[in-house]
Amino acid sequence: MTQGPATPAAPAHATVAITVNGRLHHRTVEPRTTLVDFLRETLGLTGSHVGCEHDVCGACAVLLDGDPVRACCIFAVQADGMSVTTVEGLAPERGEFSALQDAFCEAHALQCGYCTPGMLIACHDLLARNPNPDEEAIREAIGGNLCRCTGYQQIVDAVELAAAGKVAVHG
């Protein structure tokens, strides 16, 4: 916990090559730019949300090389050469929904929508690993994602709905 000078000589920017939703982006960033700020402010992909910026709320969750992680706690330079999937990349095609997105709409698993990208990322990972999760597994999977609107029950319902294949994907 050093109390160093607030602004040492500005460090060099770094060049990164990050694949986001299947598209490769080359950009120059300051090392202290977090992955979520890179996605939102540099690439303009504003689907991922910033709620706490310190590893508490899960609104910024993305898939990093397939695993859900919090993009506020990774610097963009650390994701150099890696592949990121954001909420914008979850649907199979433009204008369509994934079964989970469809189930979220059907079960009203959201209200303000701010936590939704992180919830969807967490639940997509869950269903990819466990196609038939019970309620406990669902609650464990979204344990790192806060929601202030729903009380979580409808989110659990939506994941069960998607797992049961009971939604017609209407995009």
Binding site: A12, P31, R32, H54, R70, Q78
Partner: protein, 296 residues
């Protein structure tokens, strides 16, 4: 909530990483999972001038046998990989029991075993597990080369370990308890599931066929500047049945040796009370798991 500026290095080999540490000393900080470091940087509780990223070093990753008595986990092995490793769950079940309380899926996907130990939050779960089993921590630096520190000598004070400024934790070797009748238990109370513990308790026991304790380890987290283990108290369990009375006795002696802090969530008295309750519970639970028929 943006980190203070820093320079970033991502060495391609351990040698390069150690070279960077040698060069920059106290100004440099290793980053592995970053699940504690990055939030602290965001709040500017810490502001390293240089981050050395060891995520890309395959030699620091993986779970392998290290002789018949130990299991070796590379320092940057992700917590989720530990959780999902079947052999590890069989040989060192305490790691999985501890990880149940660590963060969330998304943090465990990044958080590493070595990072957690070297971060050394006094209320963190993996340091308590490492201390309880007295794991061997492997360190390397250019100046000192390879060396090994027992967990009992590793944790020094809050966020401070035996790791030198230019050293990197490379691996942790976890003692494997052999034979039948082994069980462990880990419990904690936290403000929210996944947060650091207000108080945590853990134990590992081996009972014989008659339900008599043959080997024991007990410890507490969040109760002092480091996790605490109590080998002498554990030794008192050996040769007897682990029932409520001895469990409670040990717990009460143990908490008298703690020095818990005070914060918004709990004062020292409540923490001691909690720790005694939790330690009693883990002992009874582990005993029931190790020899269910005998403890009923």
């Amino acid at each position: 909530m943006k980190a203070a500026p820093f320079a970033y290095m991502h060495p391609e080999s351990l040698e390069q990483a150690l070279e960077a540490l040698t060069q920059h000393g106290a100004d440099a900080k290793l980053i592995a999972g970053g699940q504690s470091l990055v939030p602290m940087m965001a709040i500017r509780l810490t502001r390293p001038a240089c981050l050395v990223d060891v995520n890309r070093l395959p030699e620091l990753r993986g779970i392998t046998a290290a002789g018949p008595q130990h299991l070796r986990t590379g320092a940057t092995t992700r917590q989720r990989d530990l959780q999902e490793h079947l052999e590890l769950a069989r040989l060192v079940p305490l790691i999985g029991a501890a990880l149940h309380w660590v963060g969330h899926v998304q943090t465990r996907n990044r958080g590493t075993v070595g990072g957690s130990l070297v971060h050394a939050d006094p209320a963190a779960e993996l340091p308590l597990a490492a201390l309880l089993l007295n794991a061997r921590i492997h360190l390397r630096s250019q100046a000192m080369g390879e060396r090994t520190v027992q967990a009992s000598d590793f944790f020094i004070s809050p966020m401070f370990t035996a790791t030198g400024e230019t050293e990197c934790v490379t691996a942790i070797e976890w003692p494997v308890w052999d034979g039948p009748g082994i069980a462990c238990a880990f419990e904690e109370t936290a403000t929210r599931q996944g947060d650091f513990a207000i108080a945590a308790a853990a134990c590992q026991l081996q009972l014989d066929a008659a339900g008599i304790c043959r080997r024991a380890a007990v410890g507490l987290g969040g109760m002092a500047g480091t996790p605490l283990a109590f080998p002498d108290l554990a030794g008192k369990l050996v040769g007897q049945r682990v029932t409520r009375a001895p469990a409670r006795d040990i717990a009460e002696v143990a908490v008298r040796r703690t020095d818990p802090g005070s914060d918004l969530h709990a004062d020292p008295e409540y923490r001691r009370h909690l720790a005694a309750v939790l330690l009693t519970r883990v002992l009874l639970r582990a005993a029931a798991t190790a020899a269910p028929a005998l403890v009923a």
